[in-house]
Structures are given as structure tokens and as C-alpha cells.
């Protein structure tokens, strides 16, 4: 093997290691029996997970997060599917332009979005809580859901749909019978992406929630201490997010 082949392999390998090592170490030290995350590891056990499951705050945060994540996933998938179907009926240029406009919120720092939502919700009397956070998360999940479903819709052959319409099917029946079965996996994938994004968010959640979610709970714990029980929660977040992302990449057939 020549140097020319070796350099790219060594470089990309090092980068992947850089990306994965912190996550792997976080997982490793969640199983430590010691009081902090440091070598040498005294032993492996589930003590920190037990400490976590005994913490009533943790259970409450999981319940709040589940409501927000599921609600936001469903809502943004419904709205995004509808928008993608609408965009697919427009000329390509117009659809691309509208999609770009919809993506504008992704161009702003979450801090600015979070604070503007906090101020606005305050002004219109929407109290911080699960509903406010769910709505706020639509802001950054909707562009992804719409773009992913729209990208799949424009690859469909319109002939089958026209045939169904010619045979007398209503637009709704034609959608249920022809379009939905083909784009079903993409819709599921898009919903999983929305849920992964919602789960991952801290900044916007912080300004719109009234009770702890997983991310604000981790934030509170991080501010006050460094304890392997944060590693245990972190491991949970990593495992769930990675699984959801892997499933989403698989379902939407994203290949780089």
C-alpha cells in the first residue's frame, strides 16, 4: 500500500475517531463504579443507572420529553406532508424558492429564535409548557420534514396517479391508494428526523418549557456537578438519537 492510499485512510479514520470517541467515552464512564469519570476504571456496574431511575425528577423529565417529541413529530409530519404535496403541484422553480423560504429559520442561531419566541409567546399570553415547546420545535423540524417528503414526491411517476384519477378516483382516494404506499417509508423517516431534532434541542426548549425535559435536566445537572449519572442520561440520549437517526437514514434511503 502506497503513501498516496494511506494518507486519506489515516485522515478520515482520525476524524471518525474524533467524532465518536467523546460519545464512546461518555457511554463507557456511565458504567463506572467510581465517583467520577476518570481512569483507571475501578470497575463496571449499573450503579449510576440505578441512581437515575430512583430520581423522581428523571421520570418526570422523560414523560415531558416524550409528550413534546411525539407531539412535535406527529404535528410537523402532518403539516410537512401537506406542504410537500402542495409544493409538488407547483412549478419546480416556485417550489424550490418556497422551500428555501421555509428553511430560513435554520439560518438563525437557536438563541435568537428561542428569545423571539419567548417574547412573542409572552405577549400573546401563551404560557411556557408542553404546548409552547411543541409549537416552537415546529420551527426547525418543519423545513426538514417538508424537504425530505418533497424530494421523494418529485421522483414519483405521475402516470399512475393520472390513471387512477381517470378511472374516477377522488384526489383523496388516489392519494391513499397510489401515493401513500410509495412514500410511506419516507414519511416515517421524516417523522423520525423531526423527533431526533426535537429530542436534541436544548436552547429553544430552555426558553419555552415550564417543567424539566431531558435536555434541561441535563443542563441543570451539568451546571451543579460532574457526576457519572449525567453520563447515564447522556448514554440514553445518545442511544435513542443514534437509533432514530440510523432508522431515518435507512427509511428515507439517504445515501450521502
Amino acid at each position: 500500500m502506497t503513501i498516496r492510499r494511506l494518507v486519506p485512510i489515516a485522515f478520515t479514520g482520525a476524524i471518525v475517531l474524533f467524532l465518536l470517541a467523546p460519545l464512546a467515552l461518555c457511554i463507557l464512564f456511565s458504567f463506572t463504579t467510581g465517583p467520577n469519570a476518570a481512569f483507571p476504571l475501578p470497575g463496571l456496574g449499573l450503579g449510576w443507572y440505578r441512581a437515575l431511575s430512583d430520581d423522581p425528577q428523571f421520570g418526570a423529565a422523560v414523560a415531558t420529553t416524550a409528550q413534546i417529541t411525539l407531539g412535535c413529530g406527529l404535528l410537523s409530519t402532518l403539516i410537512g406532508l401537506s406542504a410537500a404535496l402542495g409544493l409538488a403541484r407547483l412549478p419546480r422553480g416556485a417550489a424550490a424558492a418556497l422551500l428555501l423560504v421555509l428553511c430560513l429559520p435554520l439560518m438563525l442561531p437557536p438563541l435568537v429564535l428561542g428569545l423571539s419566541l419567548l417574547t412573542f409567546f409572552n405577549a400573546i399570553g401563551l404560557k411556557p409548557g408542553v404546548l409552547a415547546t411543541m409549537l416552537a420545535h415546529l420551527l426547525f423540524t418543519l423545513p426538514f420534514v417538508t424537504a425530505v417528503i418533497h424530494a421523494r414526491l418529485v421522483t414519483l411517476d405521475p402516470a399512475a396517479l393520472e390513471a387512477a384519477r381517470d378511472a374516477g378516483a377522488s384526489p383523496f382516494r388516489a392519494f391513499l391508494g397510489i401515493t401513500l404506499p410509495v412514500i410511506g417509508a419516507t414519511i416515517v423517516g421524516a417523522m423520525l428526523i423531526a423527533m431526533a431534532l426535537s429530542l436534541d434541542d436544548f436552547v429553544i426548549t430552555f426558553f419555552t418549557t415550564s417543567s424539566n425535559t431531558m435536555s434541561t435536566l441535563i443542563w441543570g445537572m451539568m451546571r451543579t456537578s460532574i457526576s457519572p449519572s449525567i453520563n447515564a442520561i447522556g448514554t440514553g440520549v445518545i442511544v435513542v438519537s443514534l437509533a432514530v437517526t440510523a432508522l431515518a437514514l435507512h427509511a428515507t434511503r439517504y445515501r450521502g
Binding site: T12, A83, S116, V203
Partner: protein, 283 residues
């Protein structure tokens, strides 16, 4: 008749997304912008039209703004450069193994923003993973104190978070490059560096700017990373913005700070776009 019904249906399908966009983005941001001209006096916020808030941003927080733009520029440059080299290697020299590496890199995209910052804190801390590992192997006798709580740690942590994000547009753009063009340049004797500078980079300039802009804006607005791994004195602009919404509750000043940050960031990005245009011309 059918054409009009078709337009109506398209409009109805787009309506929910339009309402969400207006209600969650345009209206809140517009209201926030209007507030940046209001006045806060003795814990009450009074509608007004004056530029005092903006003037205060530059007199009181000008240094923090400049520092933040510098850190964001560093993090975005490092992340975009590494992401480009990674995507280039995956696209042109690794074959099937490259796709596996790319998928692994992208899977870390949503691996938990806070968890990543926390992981770096445990790695770089005084009695953290890196120091304890070096101590127990005998490579150092005393823990290294300079790893955490400084700007370097902020840039490493930000780069770790931004890298997979920057890879997305860059790999997408590299995929569309014609292999035969590269082969032709190579056949005429151009080295790898020449091919990258003269053939590849000019073609992917929009993606390069998109990746850089995304990294820059996220880094410039981040306040969590500096407050957890940065130096106590090295607060970034986001920390100051956020503190206007805590005890002080000076929403108008906070809003003016937020829009100053966006304005200054757009200037930096405009200059970067211009520099890329001048630097990487197709030959």
C-alpha cells in the same frame, strides 16, 4: 373551473405550513425587532422608537461582539476545512469504505448537543479522562491544567459539534463533480493540491459558503459551550444576550444585541463569500 379548484387545493395544502411559518417565525421575529427600539425603565418595558439600545451594544459590548465573531470564524474555518478534506477523501479516494465512514460521521449529527459538550468537559477536565489517562500511563507527573476552561476548548467542542453538519452540503456538492474532469487535470500533470484549488473548489463554492455560514451562525449564537468549557472571563456574546433575559429582564437591549449579532455576522459572511469568489476562480 378545474384550474381554479386546483389552485385552491394547492393553497389549502400549503396553508398549515404558511400559518406555522408566519406565527412562529415572521411574527415573533418581527415583534422582537420592534422591541429592540423600545425602552426599559425600572423593570418596565415602554414602547418607543430610539436607537439607544443599539448604541449601548457597541459601547458596552463591542469587545465581546468582536471576540465572539473571531471565535466563530475560527471554529467555522476549522470545521469547514476538515469537513471538506473528509468529504473529498470519501468521494475520490476511499471507494466503498468511504461510504461507511460517511454514514458513521453523519449518524453523530444528532448525538445530543448537550451530551457532546458534557463529554468534552469530562475529557479535558483537571481530573478528567485525558489527564487521568496520561497520569496513569506515567506520561505526565502532574495533571495539565490548560486543557479546559479556555478558548481552545471552546473551539474544539464547537468543531466537534459542527463537523458532521458541514459535511452534508460539501459531500452533496462533491458528488456532482465529474470524475473525468479531474482525471483530465491529473493526466495533464496537475498534483492533488492544484486539482483541488483549480478544479474542485471553484465548482463547489456555493456549498463551501453554505457550510461555512451554517457553522459560523451556530457558533456565533452559541452560549452553552462557552459557559461550560470556556474561560470564566471569556463569555461570548450569546452569554450577554441571554443574561438580558434573566434577572435584568431588559428585553429591548437583548433584542438589539441579537439583531446586532445577526447584522455583524452577515457582514462577515458577505466578506467571506467575496473572498471565496476572488480566491477560487475556475480556470
Amino acid at each position: 373551473m378545474t384550474a381554479r379548484r386546483g389552485t385552491l387545493a394547492t393553497g389549502l395544502l400549503l396553508l398549515p405550513a404558511a400559518l406555522a411559518f408566519l406565527g412562529l417565525f415572521v411574527a415573533p421575529l418581527g415583534y422582537f425587532f420592534v422591541q429592540s427600539f423600545w425602552k426599559a425603565s425600572s423593570f418596565r418595558i415602554v414602547p418607543d422608537f430610539q436607537f439607544d439600545n443599539y448604541a449601548r451594544v457597541f459601547t458596552d459590548y463591542g469587545g465581546a461582539l468582536g471576540f465572539t465573531l473571531g471565535v466563530a470564524f475560527m471554529a467555522a474555518t476549522v470545521a469547514t476545512t476538515i469537513a471538506f478534506l473528509f468529504a473529498y477523501a470519501v468521494r475520490f479516494s476511499l471507494g466503498r469504505a468511504g461510504n461507511v465512514l460517511l454514514v458513521i460521521a453523519l449518524i453523530t449529527l444528532f448525538g445530543g448537543y448537550l451530551v457532546k459538550i458534557y463529554a468534552w468537559r469530562t475529557i479535558l477536565g483537571l481530573d478528567g479522562i485525558l489527564n487521568s489517562a496520561l497520569l496513569s500511563t506515567g506520561l505526565i507527573a502532574e495533571p495539565l491544567p490548560f486543557l479546559l476552561f479556555n478558548t481552545g476548548a471552546v473551539i474544539v467542542t464547537l468543531t466537534h459539534y459542527l463537523l458532521p453538519l458541514a459535511m452534508l452540503p460539501l459531500f452533496g456538492a462533491l458528488r456532482d463533480i465529474d470524475d473525468s474532469e479531474i482525471a483530465a487535470a491529473r493526466d495533464m500533470g496537475a498534483g492533488v493540491t492544484r486539482v483541488i484549488i483549480d478544479v474542485v473548489l471553484p465548482q463547489i463554492r456555493p456549498a463551501l459558503l453554505a457550510a461555512f455560514a451554517m457553522c459560523f451562525l451556530l457558533a456565533a449564537g452559541d452560549y452553552v459551550t462557552p459557559s461550560l468549557v470556556g474561560s470564566p472571563g471569556g463569555a461570548m456574546f450569546g452569554n450577554f444576550i441571554q443574561s438580558q433575559f434573566g434577572l435584568r429582564m431588559n428585553t429591548p437591549l437583548g433584542a438589539a444585541m441579537a439583531f446586532s449579532l445577526i447584522g455583524a455576522s452577515l457582514l462577515v459572511l458577505g466578506a467571506t463569500g467575496l473572498a471565496l469568489r476572488l480566491g477560487f476562480r475556475a480556470r
